[in-house]
């Protein structure tokens, strides 16, 4: 993982969210959601600001951050690909989308982000578009009725639009 993907945390922004959402323990999930929607993951620095300025303890915050699958502790690439692995997608060939995306990004086993920091791919439980299965979501765009080949084509088009390069 290249160092450059790590975010520069703006303390005043984090303090602003704490002010808006609250300092009580029940604010933990929405605070982490706000941080992640800004930085794409949960930078340690931002979590420390929350702990210092709220009634949320470090064990609670870290516990919550590692419990819910939405949260990531590692930085992600510039674009996020979510390959849906809901039941409908599974029976209609989600594994072929995985193979296709991994190949296009040149990912080795255990890797989830392209070396140039362009794309991160993750497998998600269900995005709720089951009748369009198999589905993947690139940034916030839902693409449905894919095959291995059309998934790759869609990714190529996305890369071209966003000035990114694919490995294959």
């Amino acid at each position: 993982m290249s160092k450059s993907l790590e975010a520069n945390v703006d303390e005043s922004k984090v303090l602003g969210w704490i002010k808006k959402i609250g300092t009580e323990p029940s604010a933990s999930v929405p605070l982490l959601q706000e941080i992640q929607s800004e930085y794409g993951y949960l930078p340690r620095e931002a979590m420390e600001i929350v702990i210092k300025n709220s009634a949320i303890t470090s064990s609670q915050l870290y516990g919550v951050a590692t419990f819910y699958s939405q949260f990531r502790l590692k930085p992600i690439g510039r674009h996020l690909i979510k390959v849906c692995h809901g039941t409908a997608c599974h029976v209609r060939g989600a594994d072929r989308l995985d193979t296709s995306v991994e190949h296009a990004l040149g990912l080795k086993k255990g890797q989830d982000t392209a070396l140039d920091g362009s794309y991160t791919v993750e497998q998600v439980a269900c995005v709720g578009c089951c009748s369009l299965a198999p589905v993947m979501v690139v940034d916030d765009k839902v693409l449905g009725d894919l095959t291995g080949a059309t998934a790759k084509r869609a990714l190529k088009a996305h890369a071209k639009e966003n000035d990114e390069k694919l490995q294959n």
């Binding site: 029940s26 999930v29 029976v91 296709s100 578009c129």
Partner: protein
């Protein structure tokens, strides 16, 4: 004057509804064009419905793209023929049997979805919206009157467990305390279900009104709408609904001058299947890890922040305003003796017409799949249906005549569940499916109970071994033994039901397990370790599509040179990409 409704649920948007909407607005600047929720026919998106008030005709078009929508535009302007491949239904069509997707349904919870603009409170009000609340206050219905009306409807919780809704409300109403909470459970985590998404996206005011009625019945002044973060459109539309309802006085302090106050906050779920369980959901709202706790005390007595709390499913709440307005007895006219009303199902998988369907209880599974769903999508024979997701089970084709009824479905070993209906054809391997669900539950187990935490991992390992052709005969006994232990030794529904997919596939498809173990064979061609891909020389036309699709370069051959194509089994990873692109059925999977 034309009235055009464009389906803009998540599925419509995925299919490109925004460009279609834009184009129509440009072409018909003086007509009424609205963006509405999903009509349920996700397989035909982008869908538009047109009402022509000058000719008094109605049309429904589907499969629209930014290109072919021009044909529809020309037709509507009287400049072209009716585009026959895009028309789904029209008022000219007298033979309704041809179009059974909607005619086999009874839409109560979904009555407004696809009919109105979800973000318009005025359109909701036009369609009798908030009339149920007005009825309660104008007629002076007491909380007990409301509960009795719901009792008459015999509605049971639509989230899966099927607990009588009125009874839950009665417990919470009777619980001592001034502060009570009503929570709407929109954490639809079951992979393969999207009923709640559609309802929250497409008719948020209906769910909101259901929440207000429930809160009034139990005496709650605070509410939470717990919605999955994976449903951004639902979160957005529900948020707008809250603001608008407050402005009109249906929500907030002293609702409609009744003296009753109720306020709602949205909490976004952060991706944990176990949070569908009541006590885990409460922990999550409190900002903790979503782990269930022992009941009693039940949430109705001691729930969120230690106060009496009721958690109702989105679909349950979506039925409530209709029940209050039309009477519980009217609702109970639909359904079977013990399961009343309607149920929404999300049809997906190997079915032709994937989407949402709301049917009266008592309809047979076969009718839902064949009449509404249109049968097999691929032409391959249907094999089974999975109901209730990871907590549910498989029902084989031979039992498709089972009716939709809590008890009838339980008798098969599956459960009604929240409404996910995944239809499978002969290309689905039942052992692989069981493995898939165990992988899911094992990942989602919160880890509190040992049997659920460790037992599901062991089951997954055994199933993986069987799929890899390394299974042993005693594995089946071990699976059954672990299943019964996990079921009895887990605190919450996740663990108690996690073995169901394995138990039902073992019950109905044992021969597939035996084939994997004894013959090292996967009849569905799914388990990669047990199959090989071979190019058949005769049907192959040497088009080279497979060669370019292969991600590992395992296919060799010269384009246009017949009989030259071959797969190198050393490098082939059996991903099946070649099969997907081959137009001539020239690749054999064995």
């Amino acid at each position: 004057m034309l009235k055009i409704r464009v389906g803009e649920g998540t599925c419509g948007r995925a299919a490109g509804s925004a460009t279609v909407l834009e184009l129509l607005m440009k072409q018909f600047p003086n007509d009424k064009i609205t963006s509405v929720g999903c009509k349920g026919m996700c397989h035909r998106e982008v869908i538009i419905e047109v009402e022509d008030s000058s000719s008094n005709k109605k049309y429904m078009f589907g499969d629209l793209t930014n290109k072919n929508v021009e044909q529809v535009v020309k037709f509507l302007k009287g400049e072209g023929q009716l585009p026959s491949d895009l028309i789904i239904n029209s008022s000219d069509e007298s033979d309704t049997t041809k179009f059974r997707y909607l005619s086999g349904q009874k839409r109560i919870a979904l009555r407004n979805v696809g009919e109105l603009t979800p973000t318009s409170i005025d359109q909701y009000i036009e369609r009798s919206g908030y009339e149920a609340i007005k009825k309660i206050f104008n007629k002076g219905m007491s909380p007990d009157d409301v509960i009795n009306e719901v009792k008459d409807s015999v509605i049971r919780g639509r989230g899966g467990a099927g607990f009588p809704t009125y009874l839950k409300w009665q417990f919470a109403k009777g619980a001592p305390g001034d502060t009570k909470y009503l929570i709407c459970n929109g954490d639809e985590g079951d992979p393969g279900a999207f009923m709640d998404r559609s309802l929250l996206e497409g008719d948020p005011h209906n769910v909101l009104e259901g929440m207000i009625i429930g809160a009034y019945a139990i005496g709650a002044n605070h509410g939470y709408a717990y919605i999955r973060a994976e449903y951004p459109l639902a979160v957005k539309n529900f948020g707008i609904a809250i603001v608008d309802a407050k402005e009109k006085g249906f929500l907030g302090e002293n609702i409609l001058g009744s003296g009753f106050s109720f306020d709602i906050k949205i909490k976004q779920g952060a991706g944990a299947f176990v949070c569908g369980e009541e006590t885990a959901l409460i922990a999550s709202i409190e900002g903790q890890r979503g782990m269930p706790r022992l009941r009693p005390p039940f949430p109705a007595i001691k729930g969120a922040f230690g106060k009496p709390t009721i958690i109702n499913n989105v679909e349950t709440l979506g039925n409530i305003p209709w029940i209050i307005l039309n009477g519980g007895k009217e609702y109970a006219k639909y359904g079977t003796e013990k399961s009343k009303g309607t149920k929404v199902f999300a049809l997906a998988g190997a079915v032709k017409n994937g989407g949402l369907a709301e049917v009266p209880m008592g309809t047979s599974i076969r009718d839902v799949i064949e009449k509404i769903g249109g049968g097999s999508k691929t032409g391959k024979p249907l094999k089974a249906v999975q109901l209730g997701g990871p907590s549910g089970g498989c029902i084989p084709e031979s039992l498709f005549d089972t009716i939709i009824d809590y008890d009838a479905i339980n008798a098969t070993g599956a459960i009604m569940g929240s409404g996910g209906m995944i239809i499978m054809d002969s290309s689905t391997c039942m052992v692989d499916l069981a493995k898939y669900f165990l992988e899911f539950t094992q990942l989602e187990s919160c880890g509190k109970c040992t049997f659920c935490r460790v037992g599901t991992v062991r089951m997954k390992e055994i199933l993986t071994r069987i799929c890899n052709g390394e299974g042993k005969m005693e594995d089946i006994d071990t699976l059954e033994d672990l299943s019964s232990k996990i079921k009895t030794s887990s605190l919450c529904g996740l663990g108690q039901t996690a073995p169901n997919p394995v138990l039902t596939t073992l019950k109905y498809f044992k021969e597939e397990y035996l084939e994997h173990i004894k013959e090292k064979k996967c009849r569905a061609g799914k388990c990669k370790a047990l199959i090989t891909h071979t190019i058949l020389k005769d049907p192959c036309v040497a088009c080279s599509l497979c060669k370019s699709a292969c991600p590992v370069g395992a296919i060799t051959g010269t384009p246009k040179k017949l009989r030259s194509f071959e797969i190198n089994h050393e490098t082939c990873i059996n991903c099946g990409m070649c099969v997907e692109v081959c137009r001539d059925d020239a690749i054999e999977v064995k």
